[in-house]
Symmetry: C2
Subunit: 128 residues, 2 copies
DNA sequence: TAGCATCTATTACAGTTGTAGGTGGAACGG
DNA sequence: CCGTTCCACCTACAACTGTAATAGATGCTA
């Protein structure tokens, strides 16, 4: 898999690495809120699985602890996530947007930002 | 579970019921494109599981075949889907929108529709 | 250097999802 | 009535996900 599918927990672990630089397992674990924080070995298992999926790798060692770094970018992972998500709606955007708005998840600012981004994109296509 | 989590295949089955009215298992199966159509018993298994999840129910019988109808609305199911999806992004809309747009999944029409919907919603809140 | 703390590595297990085979009974066509 | 077809039901199973325990290695501290 060039772009492995990541589960929610796996995503959270990757997020720690994306935003916190190379980390040891203990450090990753501690990025979770105390309340409901998974056990050290749970994080460990997930990290090992992410390693098998080639989503991250052991970068170096400090003491006897391995330090991990991401191998896939946040953007790539999120792209994959969005694609899968759209697949669930048969690729039709309309119900997705409607749902986002009705659920109150989408504010006018979000829409304005989207508009601007769209404009910028189409501009850069026309005038490269 | 008031709003059970539905997987992709389960969604597709519900979709058949939502858009095609009450159906028998064979009919549901035949809504899948020939290419890659799941086996009859595969659909059957999923339908039974959806029954357990109270997402659908046996409505009546024709011959010896059961006819199923949805118990949860498309809207409710999609809402749940969207919520879970946002959960993966930590609830932050911005990267989601950016991803949708950059992937070219979001057209200006989609954004325009979104705008209109937003306007309509805020209006109906102000003037109920 | 002895011991405690910390990691690594291995193993286990339950729930969900997708996939489907087998067995037996019901219905329909002649 | 009899065979063929279709369906219901049960069972199985592998991959993936979340959860964690256990055992053994290693390193730091007194």
């Amino acid at each position: 898999m060039r772009l492995p599918k990541l589960s929610k927990l796996e995503l959270q672990i990757m997020e720690a690495l994306w935003s916190g630089g190379p980390l040891a397992i203990r450090e990753i674990q501690e990025t979770f809120p105390q309340k409901g924080r998974p056990a050290y070995t749970t994080v460990q298992t997930m990290v090992y699985r992410l390693e098998i999926k080639k989503a991250l790798r052991r970068m170096r060692k400090i003491g006897n602890a391995h330090i991990f770094e991401p191998l896939i970018s946040r953007d790539a992972a999120q792209r994959r996530l969005v694609d899968d998500f759209l697949g669930m709606f048969g690729g039709r955007m309309q119900p997705v947007m409607a749902q986002l708005i009705e659920a109150g998840n989408l504010t006018s600012k979000d829409v304005a930002d989207a508009e601007k981004l769209l404009r910028d994109l189409s501009k850069s296509k026309k005038e490269p």
